[in-house]
């Protein structure tokens, strides 16, 4: 079985929901980065929600790839938010104090609403 498997779907308003499943760590973050690269190659102003509900572990390399992708997308008019953190992963997220630079919500729909132009931020 692969360390991480990544699927995606597009919401009605054009927002991509990317759903990795497995471990997001130093051995697998490159696959998520590649997935983002492929998605972004079609359009620069892409908006992505990353649903982490099927991710059992997020290492610093996983957090870093999410943060750096949000930075890249914001520069080109896109955005990225996350949702579905387990209670344990949320504890680590809260400790890192990155909530202002990587917004989190409970569900993909709520995470989509967090994006600039969607009404809340």
């Amino acid at each position: 079985m692969a360390r991480i498997e990544i699927s995606s779907e597009v919401l009605a308003d054009g927002i991509h929901v990317v759903k990795p499943a497995g471990k997001l760590d130093v051995f697998s973050f490159g696959e998520l980065k590649q997935f983002f690269d492929t998605l972004s190659s079609a359009t620069k102003e892409i908006r992505i929600v990353v649903d982490l509900s099927a991710v059992e572990y997020v290492a610093s390399s996983g957090w870093s790839v999410l943060l750096s992708r949000r930075r890249i997308l914001k520069l080109s008019g896109g955005d990225l938010t996350i949702c579905g953190l387990s209670e344990e992963a949320k504890r680590v997220y809260d400790s890192m104090k990155i909530h202002t630079i990587l917004p989190v919500a409970n569900t993909p729909v709520e995470a989509a609403r967090l994006m600039v132009g969607q009404g809340l931020v």
């Binding site: 360390r3 760590d25 130093v26 051995f27 973050f29 980065k33 572990y57 290492a59 610093s60 390399s61 957090w63 870093s64 790839v65 943060l67 750096s68 949000r70 930075r71 914001k74 209670e87 344990e88 992963a89 504890r91 680590v92 809260d94 400790s95 890192m96 104090k97 990155i98 202002t100 630079i101």
Partner: protein, 149 residues
Amino acid sequence: MTGSVFVILCAGFNSAYVDRLHDRVKHYLIQCGISKTSSYVLETVVDELVCNILEHSHASWVEVEMHPNGEHVKLLLRDNGEEFDPLPAINAKGPESLEEIQGERSLGLYMVGKLAASWHYKRVDKSVNELDFIVPLDDEVKGEKHGAH
């Protein structure tokens, strides 16, 4: 509770070592009655430090020792890799804006500093790196944190 020691004999940096360590640490912490959240935090700290050692220090062995005491877990790591003092990176200020994100691999030691309450480093006999951490259980980390040699 008694402590536990895990030793990794390394022949390169691969996921099998790391996964086996995760499993053994998790199993041990469950046996100690430590909560799922605290266990996840401890696994994260161990994972970040051990991956750093395996990837960069050319160590042929890493030893991880855990001593739970009810309020925290004392974590000791020793390795025979190249001398590396991680304290500046652990004590570093974290990113406050997206502009400060420098790439995909810059958060590990910062994250460890946010999850642990205190930490120390020393080089022993010019051949072994020795790190110790206090990682609080369950409650948020409180008070002033500090790292030292």
